[in-house]
Symmetry: C2
Subunit: 546 residues, 2 copies
C-alpha cells in the first residue's frame, strides 16, 4: 500500500486556505497512485483553535470543509484530523477526531482517548475523551488510528488505546498529531514512537503540523518507521514536506535524520535558531504584517533579534531605531552602527534626551524633587517605547520585543517600556543561550561585531550601570532559573544542589514578585518545554517562594 505523509502549515480559521492546501496535496498524491494520504490532527481548522471551538458556526465550517475535501477522495482515501460533534446527551460537545474519507464521504471516525492537559494544551476544556475503540480495515491493512497523545502515554497513563487495539491483529499504527516544538522534542518523539514500534512490532506513520501559530511552534519532523524501528523517512524540520511510503517494499537502508543538518555542538541552538525564524515569519505572515521595527541598543539581545528578524522578513523589512540617552555609552551607538553596516538594514536615530529632560522637569513639582532610581530608569525606557510605538502606528510596523527569559524571570525590564512589543522573539531563551545564539549566527558568517558579544551586559539607564550590579552573573543566575522554572526546584532543593543561599533567596524572590509583569508581556515564541505565558501559569501574587 502506498501511503503519503503530508506535513503542512495550516492557518487557524482560514478554511479556504487550508482546504486548498489539502486538496492540492490529494490531487498530487492521486497522480502518484497513492492509496492513503495522511494529514495532521485538527488539520481542517488549524491548531490550536482555542475557544473558536465554542462557536457552532466554526464547528459547522469544519464539517463543511470535511465534506468539501471528501469529494476529492475518489480513487484515494484520506485520513485527516477535525473536531467532531458528540451527539450524546452528556459530556463535552466535541471530540478530537481522525476521519477516514473514502469514495466521497466519511467512512470511519475515531476519537482521541488520552486528552492532553499539560503545559501548552487543555483539551478537556473542549473535548470528551473517547471510550470506544476499534481498528480500521483498509485495503488488507488493519490500522490502529490514533491521535497525538494517544501514543504519548508513557508517563501519564496506566494504559492507552493501543493496549486495547493491539488485541486485534493489527498491521500498522497511524498517529496524526499536533506536537508543539521545544528544543528536546526531536529526542522525545523518536524515543516514544520507537518504543511503541518495538513493543507492538508494527510499522508506524506519524504526521505532524509545521509552522508557527502565535507563540506555539511546530517543527514537522513527520516520521515513517518500519516494524523493527528503522527510520524509513523523516520529513523536514520547519518546512512543509511530503513523501510517499510503500508498505510492500522493504528497504535495508535507514533514511537520514533531520538533526544531522546541524553542527553537533550547535544542535540545540541550531534548532532554536531555525524555529525562531519560522516563528517570526508565520507570526507576521498569518497576521498580514510584512515589516518589523525594534529598538537597537548596541547590546546583545537586540542584535540577535535584528538578525533573526532579517532572516525571517528580509533586511529591507526590519527597521532599527537607535535611541541614545544621556547615559548611553559611546560604544552603544558605534557598536549598533557597526552591526547595521554588516546587515545593511535601514535605521533611524532619535535622541531621547530632550523628552527625558522635559518629563523630569514636569515631574519635579509633582514629586517635590527630580525623578530618581527606578522611576528615572523606567522613564527612559518608556520614552523609547512611545517613539517605537508611534513609528509602528505610523508605518504599519509590528514592534519586536527584545527581552530574554532571564530578564523576564527576574522582572528586569520596564512595563510599557522595553517590555513593549507585538511579539517577544527571545523571551523563552536564557541570556547564556542568547550568547550561544549569537555565536551560532556568527558561525556561518561573522555579522555580529565581537564587541557586542564580549562587553558586559548593561541596560545603560544610569551612569556606568552593569547588569551584574544588581543581578548575579548570568552563568549562575540561569542555572538557578532553569532549575526553578523548568525543573520546579524550590528553595531547599536548590540549596541541596549547592547554589549559594543568598543568590537563591534573591532570585526566587524576584521571580515571585515580578509575576505581575509577565502577565502583560507579548506572546513569546516557545522553544523550551516551559515558556512563560504558554506553559507556566502562576497566581499574579502569591505569598510563596521559599
Amino acid at each position: 500500500m502506498k501511503i503519503a505523509l503530508t506535513q503542512l502549515n495550516y492557518y487557524v480559521g482560514d478554511f479556504e486556505k487550508n482546504i486548498s492546501k489539502i486538496k492540492h496535496s490529494i490531487q498530487s498524491a492521486k497522480k502518484q497512485k497513492v492509496d492513503l494520504i495522511v494529514f495532521a490532527e485538527m488539520a481542517v481548522c488549524g491548531f490550536p483553535p482555542y475557544d473558536l471551538l465554542h462557536y457552532d458556526s466554526f464547528v459547522g465550517k469544519c464539517q463543511q470543509a470535511i465534506a468539501d475535501i471528501a469529494v476529492e477522495c475518489t480513487e484515494i482515501a484520506a485520513i485527516i484530523g477535525a473536531p467532531y460533534v458528540n451527539n450524546d446527551e452528556f459530556g463535552k460537545r466535541l471530540y478530537n477526531s481522525a476521519l477516514l474519507l473514502q469514495n466521497g464521504s466519511i467512512k470511519e471516525v475515531r476519537h482521541k482517548t488520552l486528552l492532553a492537559s499539560n503545559n501548552s494544551k487543555d483539551e478537556h476544556r473542549y473535548f470528551e475523551p473517547n471510550k470506544k475503540w476499534g481498528t480500521i480495515s483498509f485495503k488488507g491493512e488493519k490500522i490502529a488510528l490514533t491521535i497525538g497523545e494517544d501514543l504519548w502515554n508513557i508517563d501519564n497513563y496506566a494504559s492507552g488505546p493501543l493496549d486495547i487495539l493491539a488485541e486485534e491483529s493489527l498491521t500498522i499504527i497511524i498517529n496524526i498529531a499536533a506536537t508543539p516544538f521545544h528544543y528536546d522534542l526531536w529526542k522525545e518523539r523518536t524515543e516514544i514512537l520507537t518504543n511503541y514500534v518495538l513493543k507492538y512490532k508494527l510499522p508506524l506513520i506519524y504526521v505532524n503540523h509545521v509552522g508557527g501559530q502565535g507563540g506555539l511552534l511546530f517543527d514537522g519532523g513527520s516520521l515513517a518507521l518500519d516494524k523493527t524501528g528503522k527510520r524509513l523517512y523523516e520529513l523536514k524540520f520547519f518546512e512543509e514536506d511530503f513523501t510517499i511510503i510503500d508498505t510492500k517494499v522493504t528497504t535495508t537502508t535507514t533514511s537520514p535524520k533531520q538533526i544531522d543538518n546541524y553542527p553537533p555542538e550547535y544542535l540545540k541552538i541550531g534548532l532554536i535558531h531555525d524555529s525562531l525564524i519560522m516563528g517570526i515569519k508565520d507570526f507576521f505572515g498569518k497576521q498580514g504584517f510584512t515589516k518589523a521595527i525594534l529598538g537597537l541598543s548596541g547590546g546583545l539581545d537586540s542584535a540577535v533579534v535584528l538578525l533573526l528578524a532579517i532572516k525571517a522578513l528580509g533586511r529591507e523589512n526590519v527597521m532599527s531605531v537607535l535611541m541614545p540617552s544621556p547615559y548611553s555609552s559611546d560604544h552603544s551607538l558605534t557598536d549598533a552602527i557597526h552591526l547595521l553596516k554588516n546587515t545593511k538594514s535601514p535605521y533611524k536615530i532619535i535622541n531621547i534626551s530632550e523628552a527625558y529632560n522635559l518629563f523630569r522637569q514636569t515631574l519635579e513639582p509633582v514629586f517635590g524633587y527630580l525623578p530618581t532610581g527606578a522611576t528615572d530608569e523606567n522613564l527612559q525606557a518608556r520614552i523609547r517605547g512611545v517613539y517605537l510605538m508611534s513609528m509602528a502606528n505610523n508605518s504599519g510596523y509590528l514592534l519586536l520585543n527584545n527581552s530574554n527569559k532571564s530578564e523576564a524571570a527576574v522582572g528586569y525590564g520596564t512595563l510599557y517600556g522595553d517590555m513593549n512589543g507585538g511579539l517577544s522573539v527571545i523571551g523563552d531563551i536564557y541570556k547564556t543561550e542568547v550568547f550561544e545564539l549569537a555565536r551560532y549566527i556568527n558561525y556561518y558568517k561573522e555579522v555580529i561585531p565581537e564587541n557586542i558579544i564580549k562587553k558586559p551586559p548593561s541596560a545603560e539607564l544610569r551612569p556606568n550601570q552593569k547588569d551584574s550590579d544588581s543581578l548575579p552573573d548570568y552563568d549562575v543566575l540561569d542555572k538557578i532559573l532553569y532549575n526553578h522554572i523548568e525543573k520546579h526546584k524550590s528553595y531547599q532543593e536548590l540549596i541541596e544542589m549547592g547554589f549559594n543561599k543568598e543568590l537563591i533567596t534573591k532570585t526566587l524572590r524576584l521571580v515571585s514578585i515580578s509575576e505581575y509583569k509577565r502577565h502583560q508581556t507579548p506572546p513569546i515564541l516557545r522553544v523550551s518545554p516551559k515558556a512563560f505565558r504558554t506553559d507556566r501559569q502562576m497566581p499574579v501574587a502569591a505569598k510563596y517562594w521559599k
Copy 2:
C-alpha cells in the same frame, strides 16, 4: 450533630496565615461544642494555586499544614480541602481532596471525581480524577463528602459520584467548594444545590471561599439546606462568615436570602458593585499595596473606578491625575474637579501639551510630516501613561486601569497608554453596565455629577471627537458583543437575531483583530461568566470572524 460552616478569605501560598485562620475557627467552634467544622475546597493553600502545585515543596507544605491543623482536632472533627498525593504509578501526581481530620490525624480522604475544565478552571492539568467512592460514617451520620463540581454535573456529566453514593443509606451531603463568582452565580448555585436536595431527599451543607484572588472573585454564600430544600442558613456575600447548624433541631422558618439586601431593580449591579470593591481590596491587600493612582478624564469610566477604589481603599489612598491635552474639552476638567469636590480625595493636574508637542516635533523629521490619525491619538494616551507610571513608581501606587469591556472587546484603547495598569477594575463590565453602576452608586448618595453620566462618551483625542463617530451606539454594540462573547453567537446567528448586517460585520471584525491587545491587558476583576483573559481564550490572530 452540630456542624459549623466556616467561610474564610484564604491567601494563596501563605500557609502561616491560612493555618492561623483555620485554627482560630476550630478553637471557636470547640468552645461552642461543635461536632464537625467544615472548611472550603483547597483551603490550606488558598485557591487557585495554579502551577505552585507543580512544586513538591508546595505540596509538602500543604501536607505539613494539614498535620498542624489535625493536632487541633480533638473533641471536634474537621473537613477541609487540600491537594493530596496520588501514589499510583500512573496518572497526574495529585488529587483534589477533602480530608476528615479527627483525633489529631487524617481519618478519611475523598477525592474529587468530576474535575472542572471550563472557563476559569483547568483541573485536569494537576489532578487525577477519583475513581473510588465511599460514604463517611461519623457520629451516626452517613456523609456523602463531595467537592465543588462533583455536584455541578447537571449539564456535563451522565452521572456524578452521588448517583453511586446514594445507593448507600446516606443522611447528609457535604460539598466543599471554590466556586468563582459571577453576577448570576447566586441563582445557578441555589438551583443546582436545591435540585440535589430534592432528588436525594437529603440535607446539604455547602462551604465556599470568599475574597478576591487576582482577577477571580469568590462571593461566599455558603449554604445549609434541609432535606425539603428549605434554606436553614445562607452565609454572607463578600465577607468572611461562620455559622453553626444543628442537624437534630428542626425549624419551620426559612433563613433570609443574601440577595434581599439589594434593591431588586439593582440586584445584578449591586452584586457587581460589592464584588468589585472586595476585589480591589484583596488585590491590593494580598500584594501589600495600600495606595492606588488613576487617570481621571472627566468621563464616566474613570469616575466609576475612582468611586469603587475609594470604597475599597479609603479616599486618602486614591490619587487622581487630571491630564488635559489640547483636545480636552472645558467640561472635562470642570466635571472631574466637581467629582473630586464630592469625593474629597487627592488629585494632581499635569498638562500634557508640552510633551505632546515635543514628541510631535521630534517625529516630524522621522515621518516627513506631523503625526496624524491613530498615531497622534495614541501619542496622547501614551504620554499620560508615562506620567501615571512615573508617579506610581515614585510613590508606590498601583495604577488602576479604567477600560470597560465594550472598549476591550473592540480594541478601543491604546496599548501602553490608557490600557496600562496593574488591575483592570471594570474590564468585565460593558459600557451600558457602567452607566447602571454609576446610577447605583448615586442611588444611595449623589456623588457622580449628572453631567458626567449624561454627556456623550468621548476619548477626546481629537477636536470634538465622540465614541459614536467610530463605534455603534453602546446600546446596540453591547447587545451584539454580549451575544457574540457570552453566548457564542456568530455572524449568521446575529443576522437571524435581527441585528444590522453592517454593524455585525464591523463589530465582529474589530473583536477579532484586536485580540492581540487583550493578550496584554492587566488582570481583570471577573464578574461575568465570560471575562477576557480568565474565560475567553483565543488565538492571537485567526482568520475567522464571519
